[in-house]
Amino acid sequence: MSYQIIVCGSLVPDPLQTLEPVTGPQGPALKNEMMLPSWLDPWAGHALYEAARLAGQHAGSKVWLVSLGPKAKLQQVMMTVAQKVPFELVALDGSAGGFTDASETAAALAEAILAIPGLDLTKLLLFGGWESASRGAGATLQIVGERLGITDQFQGVDSLTLEADGSLRILERVEGGKHQVSVCSAPPAVLGWATGSLPEPRNNPQVGMANMRGIMPALQKAKPSPVSTGDITFTSVTLPTQTRTTQVIKDASPEQIAADIVAWIKGG
């Protein structure tokens, strides 16, 4: 059986950059946000790589990446992402900031997905990240699914196995480092990926050149999607506090490292 795998994902600022919350004309933002280098949101990245693996295993399958972000920044990010795995881009030109209203974003994404020619819900697997490296609302993907009428939804997915009978065996993260096993009889389904199990593919310019032939036109015709913060009012925005206590120790054993971490957690 072939699948139509649609991955929703956008860009986030490079986490190595200095991320300083400021209040802009449209609400909260990051200082110099448009100047900072961006990456594909890592959770969306996991979803994309899993989608490509699945498509590679099932002849006739195809992967789309539906992405809402500033067109120019999307183009920059595609210079890397396009080299990872084969996919077709559906671009929406709008804000990718972490403070947009999840329902507005989801509405724009759902509309773009429904406009994909030849969309067949019986073959559709809707992928995305269950989280985001920006301020993840944790709701966007679910709302997209609802708008598409897909009620079989799974979050925190680490594994998807397509069984011989066409059913989907899915492992979702639950408490205590365990997985909940679900079986879904058939597509369509929404899968919000945790980390999956695949490494980030190396850049391959050959793949990139093939992808870019479609990506550049997609960016050219990216539809303006002016998503905003909606009715949400942010009273304050701060970065998560962090403390870095760095020790450089070479050749420590795993047991010693584990003991050090336990001691640190206990405040020792």
Partner: protein
């Protein structure tokens, strides 16, 4: 320091898109992708290996060897190849390879050399190989893909030889070829006896392109010959060279004693009166090869300088943190050493030099991209007309005047010029080739000489800005390695003296000087206040006047000043020209950034501040270039005259044998140049001030 509150200021370090606009490849997604493909390799496995001490051995270790497969997988190896041979970039690839070298050298130039040496090895075949040689070897160089079980073909280029000839004269070869078999109607078999020195890639190469000379009356002259590891005879990769630089590249002293068919002579041969005459001498081939690969070497050093900016800023700001004085929020805590103007000014010098070098290097790479198709067309046309050897030189001597006419006509007002003749000249590929070739003959050695030579000096300054940290292995950004590596870059593929020697000839070409005069006019007409264009233009006028004066002047003893063996005159003039070329290109790139950036919404937030900062850097560099030019020109114009009774230039007309009119003209150029320097030091203050507020990442994106 100067107040800059009302002016746009540098907010962040330049983005990739801004660089693409500035270096003029924003419309080339293939190049943007190769940058993104190479960067994680440089800042990932390459950086990790350096951080783990991978450079601390001359041997070619398994860890170093593992990088080759990574280069293959990421497209670095195939970047040189045309798509029909497994590559992915259409057309000329000088800019692409320049970007690859730039990205790798940001972390380690040995890695860049390792990847580029394969290109150097195969370049003789690419540039001058027969159709059969190209069809056979180029696909082999393409890395094996999934399911392809063949062994990767890796190539080395063997030119330099052991002492006494090493580094002395590339025209002299002790590597020899003789005919060992030549049966009627069959391919002659050659015996190759070649010892190499400082040969890159030998630890893993299985194909070598080697320069050899004839030791047989039945072979005329020299050539480049292709050797394969499986050829009958002895293939000894040799011992590793005990170099202290570029340790992520393999360098050995190999010995070859092999029997190969004459069809391995690169470019083929003809037989005349029972004598094999190679179609290309080794000199002709290495000229075609090196003039391209030297550009990437120049860019390696510029990349190091620009890579040093972020770690130095971070070091400066954090210098006093953790001490008893300086609490969070205090200038001492937040800015650290950046409260001191000197370290800021010196860092601006580093940054400005890196920008100028990168501008010069990338323009040279783009120039070769423009030149390459014309080069092929020139070869085709000459072959069609049966012109070869010295005939080519004669043909170009005839074309020279047409080319000068073309350049001259292009600068005349459209209303009064002979448009029909200009159209004719502009449509003549040989004329257009001659124009660009005259530029390339100056740009290439200028880039190699200035970027690496002066770059190495400034790299020392960068290291010094790290204090004692700068000479430890723990120094972020691997700056001490980069300092040492820069010295190699100034030496290999033609040391500084070779570049100066070439420049001293090519910069006096009438066709080049006709273009140079036009560049001065263009700079003077450039509507870019604050860019330093008037400074550089005035310095260029001073240089041009001095060159022409010195070409005809004699010293106090009546000896001609500008002559081949008088390197005390010719070489400093080449140095001055390099400063000017780099400054001019930096200004042009910055102006281009302002123009194209204004139309690109993705840099809308970043552009005003970065552009203002880059303009200030241009002024700083222009003033420095002008100072060097003025010093050199004064030394040369005045320094060979008799000392006047009153020792100042304005009174020199009192001295015997001095051309007072000439000196007045010279003084006029000096005075004009001095007048252009008003305010440039304020630009340096502004730029220095910007360093105190520019936002940098939390951490370096590669390990230490």
């Amino acid at each position: 320091m100067a107040a800059t509150d009302t002016l746009p200021s540098l907010q962040t370090l330049p983005s990739d898109q801004l660089r693409a606009l500035q270096w003029r490849f924003a419309d080339r997604y293939d190049l943007a992708m190769i940058v993104q493909s190479v960067r994680p390799i440089a800042r990932g496995p390459v950086a990790r290996l350096v951080a783990q001490g991978g450079r601390n051995t001359h041997e070619w270790t398994a860890e170093k060897n593992a990088l080759l497969a990574i280069y293959d997988e990421s497209g670095i190896t195939a970047a040189f190849l045309n798509p029909e041979f497994g590559g992915f970039i259409e057309g000329p690839k000088n800019l692409a390879l320049a970007l690859v070298a730039f990205e790798l050298s940001w972390v380690d130039a040995g890695a860049a050399t390792c990847s580029l040496a394969s290109n150097l090895g195969v370049a003789p075949i690419h540039e001058r190989g027969t159709a059969e040689q190209v069809a056979h070897y180029m696909p082999l160089v393409s890395p094996p893909g999934p399911g392809d079980s063949r062994e990767a073909t890796r190539v080395a280029f063997a030119l330099t030889e052991p002492i006494p000839f090493v580094g002395v004269e590339t025209g002299l070869l002790s590597g020899k070829m003789r005919i060992v078999e030549w049966e009627d109607g069959k391919e002659p078999m050659l015996h190759i006896d070649k010892r190499g020195r400082f040969i890159t890639n030998m630890d893993f190469a299985n194909v070598v392109t080697a320069a050899v000379d004839s030791a047989d009356p039945r072979i005329k002259g020299s050539c480049i010959v292709i050797l394969e590891k499986t050829d009958p005879g002895s293939w000894d990769a040799g011992v590793p060279t005990r170099k202290m630089v570029h340790q992520l590249s393999s360098t050995c002293d190999p010995v070859f004693n092999l029997k190969v068919p004459a069809s391995r002579i690169v470019g083929g041969y003809t037989v005349k009166d029972g004598v094999i005459i190679p179609n290309f001498s080794h000199g002709e081939i290495i000229e075609a090869v090196f003039r391209r690969t030297r550009v990437t070497v120049g860019l390696m050093t510029s990349s190091k300088l620009l890579s040093a900016i972020e770690p130095i800023i971070r070091y400066q700001r954090s210098r006093f943190r953790g001490g008893e004085t300086g609490t969070p929020g205090s200038p001492r805590y937040d800015l650290g050493l950046q409260t001191k103007q000197d370290v800021l000014h010196r860092l601006i010098d580093v940054w400005a030099t890196g920008e100028a070098g990168a501008a010069l290097g990338f323009e040279t790479a783009r120039l070769f991209d423009r030149l390459d198709p014309l080069d092929r067309e020139k070869d085709r046309l000459f072959a069609e007309q049966g012109i070869s050897g010295r005939g080519v030189l004669k043909a170009f001597a005839r074309i020279q005047q047409d080319a000068i006419d073309c350049v001259t006509l292009q600068r005349q007002p459209e209303a009064g010029r002979d448009q029909a003749r200009l159209d004719l000249l502009e449509s003549n590929p040989l004329v257009q080739y001659a124009i660009l070739d005259a530029q390339a003959n100056v740009f290439c050695p200028a880039c190699k000489l200035w970027n690496t030579g002066y770059g190495a000096t400034v790299m020392r300054e960068a290291v010094s800005l790290m204090g004692g940290y700068g000479i430890t292995e723990d120094c972020p950004g691997f700056l001490p390695h980069k300092w040492m590596d820069a010295q190699l870059e100034a030496t290999y593929e033609g040391p500084e003296a070779v570049q100066r020697r070439q420049l001293s000839v090519t910069m006096t070409s009438g066709l080049f000087l006709a273009q140079f005069e036009g560049w001065i006019t263009d700079l003077e007409a450039l509507q870019a206040p604050g860019s330093g264009a008037c400074i550089t233009a005035s310095a260029m006028r001073l240089w041009l006047w001095s060159l022409r004066h010195l070409q005809n002047a004699t010293d106090v003893h009546g000896a001609k000043l500008y002559q081949s063996n008088r390197q005390g005159v010719t070489f400093p003039l080449t140095d001055a020209l390099c400063w000017l070329m780099a400054s001019r290109q930096q200004i042009l790139d910055t102006v281009e950034l302002g123009r194209s950036g204004a139309a690109d919404p993705s840099v809308a937030d970043e552009l005003p501040g970065t552009l203002a900062f880059f303009m200030d850097l241009c002024q700083v560099q222009a003033a420095r270039a002008a100072g060097e030019t003025a010093r050199i020109c004064s030394e040369l114009v005045l320094g060979y005259l008799a000392k006047p009774a009153v020792a100042c230039a304005c009174c020199a007309d009192a001295a015997p044998g001095v051309d007072a009119t000439a000196l007045q003209a010279f003084s006029g150029h000096r005075a004009r140049l001095d007048a252009c320097l008003y305010g440039f030091r304020l630009a340096k203050d502004r730029a220095a001030n910007a360093l105190t507020s520019v936002m940098i990442p939390e951490a370096l994106d590669y390990p230490v």
